[in-house]
Symmetry: C2
Subunit: 192 residues, 2 copies
């Protein structure tokens, strides 16, 4: 018998509508269907870092809507033992440097917009926040949870199931294969 | 005979007035005096990453003011082989997350300042840039050159001579001892 394929799972698989629709009409349904499929298969082992599991629990009001969550292995990455290639750190520093410059350009733009007084303070701050979020956050590892996912997938020699293109980009630099929600579903169906 | 102490040297030792004053009245004099002292000692080996050496060369108009620069070993860190602890990356991500939030707060402040129209555009943008630089850049590794210094010191099991507190903070996380310009001078004098 083949070893089960190890898959580390990101919350967005159940939160992002473009992702969860492969499993169900709502986040809740999708999560339950996913666990049902996982229960039937012997060829896929599913993991989640505790930090990401907590994120997922918070998303569902009243806690996770299933008694089968034990099917997902809550494994933290071994952060005290793991190391990453120095080259990845170089790339990350360069990426941050570019983003910081971009942040300054956005700030300058909105200071000038302010001077023109064409918008209310509320509207100005709202659009600033939106532009800042998109410009600074998208496509980058910007949380402990993101890095936990990558580190755990690396450690397990597993695949990473996520709908986050930024995360996929960084995972690929470490040789981690990514799975979309659709691919994840196909895998689960093949092995049912 | 003891092995010579390996010291990786940052440009700011010769560029920052608070640092170079231990070696001379000007950057140029300081650099020359430093090399003269280095020539006389057998107990200290000096290294610089090529990227940082280039930075230093650019600082001196007309090139480096000495024919003794061969005394400094221009060694790049082995970026393709080196790795860094995953924990350091976590700390860096957290630091960047805090900085990005700080950047947004600064941007909001200046958008609101703009709305008040108390300053000229020129004055507003100037103070925004200054506040952004201090808030976003200080105390962080924000360039390839900074990381080259840390990585080389780590690889050589050496000391890092720098006047940059941000760099010292990150070097210490990797167990790299830092030397101030004053300490560097004292070391060179002891072994002359």
């Amino acid at each position: 018998m083949r070893e089960p394929l190890k898959v580390v799972i990101d919350t967005n698989i159940f939160i992002n509508p473009d992702a969860y629709r492969y499993f169900g009409a709502t986040s809740e349904q999708a999560f339950n269907n996913f666990l049902d499929m996982l229960e039937r298969t012997k060829s896929l082992a599913c993991f989640i870092p505790p930090s990401v599991y907590e994120e997922l629990s918070k998303f569902f009001e009243g806690g996770l809507p299933s008694k089968k969550t034990v099917l997902i292995d809550k494994k933290p990455p071994s952060s005290y033992q793991n190391s990453i290639p120095a080259l990845l750190f170089y790339e990350f520093i360069e990426e941050m440097r570019l983003r910081i410059n971009k942040g300054l350009r956005i700030a300058e733009k909105y200071a000038r917009k302010g001077l023109k007084r064409e918008e209310s303070e509320e509207a100005l701050i709202k659009s600033l926040r939106e532009e800042h979020r998109v410009g600074m956050r998208e496509g980058i590892i910007d949380s402990k949870e993101d890095f936990d996912l990558i580190l755990l997938a690396k450690e397990l020699n597993g695949h990473l199931a996520t709908a986050d293109n930024g995360l996929i980009k960084w995972a690929q630099k470490l040789g981690i294969p990514a799975l979309s929600a659709q691919e994840l579903k196909e895998l689960l169906e093949r092995v049912v």
